[in-house]
Amino acid sequence: MAAVEKPVGSAGSPAAIFLKVTAWFGFLFLLMPSFIVVPMSFGNQYEMVFPPDSFSTYLYEQFFFQSNWMDATFLSFRVAISSTILALVLGVPAAYSIVRGTYPGKRYVAMFLMSPILVPIIVIALGLYLYFASLGIVGTEIGLIFAHTMFTTPFVIVTSMAGLRHVDQSLETAATIMGAGVMQTFFKVTLPLLKPAMFAGALFAFLMSFDEVVIAYFIADTGRMTLPVKMFNSIQWEISPVLAAVSALLTVLSLFVCVLAASFQKKS
């Protein structure tokens, strides 16, 4: 689509200047946290101020070597990777079923699989807490993995559905004409063509799980905290200076994902 035409508040008019100033105030407001945590992460352990008044890598050393922050980070990585793989295994075939399927009630299948997006996360968190408590798996890694798989699968389905609409169906038809079954067509033709969408979906699922805090806060126990839960507790109770280093690293991770996602959109 073309940009909205120039005449509306052409450059230099008071209205245009007001618009530009407000928009850039908005951009700066949005970027402020990402901007300040990076310099702060090179500050010292005594003062949590921005701008920092000294330069050191002390906080990173604390994060990597001197504390139990790494335990939380590894737990988050393990949960995010496992749940992303599970979400792909469940979500991609489900998206195929929704886009290509011809069975009755398909609409409701799609609605049901998307419904975790619509329910307030706190309600899901409480539900899982009560359920896992009755099963005795509160605070376990497998509980976290299942919970995050449930949380991310709808998003994998959405990205896969979008990807499938761009996969040329005549290629699938050609495969079946030449005698391939539904399964063979799916694995040999559709999946390879769906790779970019699957990669994008996996990337988002990973980051969503890695950053997810409300569910993890409810179903993790104090001995096994994911990184976001540890951060939540730290902000609430002590404000550990190490938070600055963690935040800076997470900002870099988000930036990485954004750039990767943007480069993918360009390709497809």
Partner: protein, 282 residues
């Protein structure tokens, strides 16, 4: 096309996800309904809802939740509309670059944001240090652990959710309309108020409802940036679940929150522009 009969088999492709969601999503949600009607010992009771009906704490929190959600939605709209409008006016290449400035905060952990705000807004934080540099002022306003902190945190979180639908409805407009109005002698302000703004209302409506719905169930920001007076429904759920172990009350509040949200989502699916926000591309 694959044969229709053959394609029926594809229901099997959806089966694993359906079973998984039934166990890890539907069953726990039904469990919340069930728990809201039972005591912790498993006896049937209406007591949860009855107690909430008469509870001053709950009515205060309910009022808070609506008040905060409404204020945050308005504040978000006031900032997000100019951003979306500014983006819509850019050439596609410049817009693609500026979109990164929206996407990066969108994908940034809410805990990074909350941490940054505790540093910037605190009593001896960046903003207050700057303010006290001014002559005659030795104390800045309190911006943390009160309503203001919650508002700043929520607005920050919500802006991307509002920018996307508004931008979509701005870009969908036919640029010839504005050009025609200009040729017929309309000034920029008139073109904006008579053409651009009305035509972007679907995006505004969809974005506002979306933000309001997300806000109703918000937990992190009021917990970290708000004070005791800024508790929202989600914080009360947490309080009853972990502090007092009153699962019946926690579940009753959750059910009320869920019903409210679903009702608003139903409304959202009815407003023009709401479908795309809900991602029902079908």
């Amino acid at each position: 096309m694959l044969e229709a009969r053959q394609m029926r088999i594809t229901i099997l492709f959806g089966l694993p996800a359906l079973v998984f969601m039934a166990i890890i999503f539907l069953y726990p949600i039904l469990g919340v309904f069930n728990q809201s009607l039972h005591t912790i010992d498993g006896l049937f009771t209406w007591e949860g809802y009855v107690e909430l009906w008469g509870s001053r704490l709950f009515s205060k929190v309910l009022l808070n939740t609506f008040e905060i959600s409404f204020e945050a939605t308005v504040l978000t709209l006031l900032l997000a509309y100019p951003i979306a409008y500014y983006l819509a006016k850019q050439e596609p290449r410049a817009r693609a670059f500026l979109m990164v400035l929206i996407l990066l905060p969108f994908w940034t952990s809410i805990l990074v944001k909350s941490f940054a705000f505790t540093v910037v807004l605190g009593e001896h934080g960046t903003i207050n240090s700057l303010i006290t540099l001014l002559p005659g002022i030795d104390r800045g306003p309190k911006m943390l652990f009160n309503r203001m902190g919650v508002m700043i945190g929520l607005t920050h979180f919500f802006i991307p959710f509002m920018v996307f639908p508004i931008l979509t409805s701005l870009l969908a407009q036919n640029p010839d309309l504005a050009k025609a109005a200009q040729l017929m002698g309309s000034g920029p302000v008139r073109i904006f108020t008579r053409i651009t703004l009305p035509l972007s209302m679907p995006g505004v409506m969809a974005g506002s409802l979306l933000v309001f719905i997300i806000s109703l169930g918000f937990f992190i920001t009021p917990a970290l940036l708000g004070g005791r007076k800024d508790l929202m429904m989600a914080n009360l759920v947490d309080f009853y679940t972990r502090e007092t172990l009153n699962w019946t009350l926690a579940s009753s509040i959750s059910v009320i929150l869920l019903v409210l949200s679903l009702f608003l989502i139903f409304l959202l699916s009815r407003v023009p522009g709401g479908k795309s926000v809900l991602g029902e591309g079908n």
